[in-house]
């Protein structure tokens, strides 16, 4: 509590400084201070909350016989997983970064296919009324099937866990991409179509020069939902298929009662998922910089 109060005064002091000397200080210095204040505003509050949560957690789980380990025990027993993500002791005893990378590789392949197929199929559905009528109801039903429900079928089809996991990623991520792309393509203003018609753009030129850029904001919304779902699905799929990966690591840790490891892995998954989301969102914002503002 006192920390928070202190922080408040710090921020106010900073604000006061900025507003006190606007004329004398150069713009660059004002900017730096503003940046610093912004960083403080966005970083310090979550930091305080995390510390508070850790504190409460520590108090709650410190009693002997508590079913979950307190943060101090996590640090003690799984510390190396936190501060050395890249170790490799052989025999599959490797740091979490390697496991995350293995999972990310699966996601990259599965999501990559989902993006390509999703945009192509979505464009087709968005263009054709009959494809829309025929396929949309089927997609609407299939997209509600939980990712893991596909796994047995996919194991039976591929007879190998690696492609099965990738297929689960694909089938999870592809629906939002298809549906959002189709909506985006249907919403392309008629004027753009008229321009394309007058220029006699062929279907391929139309696809790359008009359709994709015009539907890009929708496509990226779909991709962003898709990457989030992929990351959800890969962890669950790996818990069942085994092999190297962050999902299997959790399952393995559970089987050998290493709860602290699980907690560290959860943090990794959360952070990586967040970064994936930001990555796609940032990429989308960069690509569509001209499109949103008309």
């Amino acid at each position: 509590m006192s920390a928070e109060a202190q922080f408040e005064t710090v921020v106010q002091a900073k604000k006061a400084k900025v507003f006190a000397f606007p004329a004398q200080s150069s713009t660059r210095r004002v900017d730096l201070r503003k940046v610093a204040a912004n960083v403080a505003r966005s970083v310090v509050p979550p930091l305080i909350v995390v510390l508070l949560v850790l504190l409460v957690w520590q108090i709650a789980c410190a009693t002997p016989g508590a079913s979950l380990p307190p943060p101090s025990l996590v640090w003690e027993q799984a510390g190396e997983l936190i501060w050395n993500p890249f170790f490799d002791y052989g025999n599959g005893d490797i740091g979490l970064a390697w496991r995350v990378l293995a999972s990310l590789q699966r996601v990259a392949i599965g999501f990559g296919f989902a993006a390509l197929v999703g945009v192509a199929v979505g464009a087709f559905i968005g263009q054709s009324v009959w494809a829309m009528r025929g396929l949309d109801p089927i997609f609407q039903i299939l997209r509600t099937v939980p990712p893991l429900a596909w796994l047995p079928l996919s194991l039976a089809a591929f007879r190998d866990s690696h492609p099965s996991a990738i297929f689960v990623i694909f089938i999870t991520a592809v629906w939002p991409v298809i549906i959002n792309t189709a909506v985006g393509v249907r919403n392309i203003p008629n004027d753009y179509r008229n321009v394309a018609a007058i220029l006699r753009l062929n279907p391929i030129e139309f696809f790359f020069k008009v359709m994709v850029p015009a539907a890009a904001p929708y496509i990226f919304t779909g991709l962003r939902i898709g990457i989030g779902l992929s990351w959800l699905a890969i962890v669950a799929a790996e818990m069942l298929t085994g092999g190297v990966g962050i999902g299997f690591f959790i399952w393995d840790a559970w089987n050998s009662s290493r709860l602290p490891d699980i907690i560290v892995a959860l943090v990794y998954i959360g952070v990586v998922g967040f970064m994936l989301d930001r990555l796609v969102a940032g990429f989308g914002a960069f690509i569509t910089r001209g499109t949103a503002a008309n």
Binding site: V195, I198, L199, P213, G290
Partner: protein, 264 residues
């Protein structure tokens, strides 16, 4: 061969939910090369439909349209359209928007340097060379419309079709662009068909004014010759007798004989 562009007994009707609505009825018109034609009429009379038919964006129900004795059946760059809402692609810069058209129309015929020169030539024609690297969102409505005109001109169209090109602009900007269009016509002597709501615009710019009756099943009510020499000066014409007479004739047609009742 009579008429550069020939519209021959064209009907157009749309069918929706089994109900057929006639929009245009028995439209016939012949336009010579280099002529500037305005089509004027109350809203809903099918002016835009007529322009879309000439552009090839909509198909005729019966009758035919010929350009240089060839039937118009699909859209193409030889009938370039300047759209009311500019229709520039917002993710491309001004230069890239014109380049899209030039690349498609002259990609095989001109070298890269020639295409660049041609793009800049057309942008300079509408005085937009300075904004070549701006995106449509960064320039004003009048500037967007200028770029729209540059894009259309860059296709070197046989006929330039303008669909209420200045309708969304304020009066001053509109006057500037009208002057620009007159100047371009003076230089290129291109054939233009323009849809407008504005009586002054019609008289100022055109050689003939096509006045449409009210829909449904609109037809050409009257074609008025504007016997004014070129180049025309807005200020000199303001008190000119011929100009005023033409203006009066159009006003009479629109507000006496074919008053748009629903709009009142």
């Amino acid at each position: 061969m009579a008429g550069y562009l020939k519209i021959d007994h064209v009907d157009k009707s749309f069918e929706r939910n089994g109900v057929t609505s006639e929009v245009l009825k028995d439209i016939s018109l012949e336009i010579e090369q280099g002529e500037v034609i305005s089509i004027i009429g109350h809203s809903g009379c099918g002016k835009s439909t007529l322009l879309n038919l000439i552009a090839g964006l909509t198909e005729v129900t019966s009758g035919a349209i010929f350009l240089e004795d060839k039937t118009v059946s699909e859209p193409g760059p030889e009938r370039a359209v300047v759209f009311q809402n500019h229709s520039l692609l917002p993710w491309l810069t001004v230069y890239e928007n014109v380049n899209l058209a030039v690349g498609k129309v002259f990609g095989a015929k001109k070298s890269k340097a020639e295409r660049h020169e041609w793009i800049m030539h057309n942008l300079d024609l509408v005085q937009m060379g300075h904004a070549r690297d701006k995106r449509p969102a960064e320039i004003s409505g009048g500037m967007k419309q200028r770029v729209g005109i540059a894009r259309a001109l860059a296709m070197e169209p046989k006929i330039l079709l303008l669909d209420e090109p200045f309708g969304a602009l304020d009066a001053l900007t509109r006057a500037h662009l009208q002057d620009a269009v007159m100047e371009i016509h003076g230089r290129l002597n291109n054939t233009m068909i323009m849809i407008t709501h504005d009586v002054d615009e019609a008289v100022l710019l055109s050689d003939r004014i096509v006045m449409m009756t009210n829909g449904p099943a609109a037809r050409i009510g009257e074609v008025l010759e504007v016997p004014l020499g070129r180049p025309r000066q807005r200020l000199e014409l303001a008190g000119d007798r011929t100009y005023l007479k033409c203006r009066e004739a159009v006003l009479k047609f629109l507000y006496e004989r074919h008053r748009f009742v629903e709009a009142a």
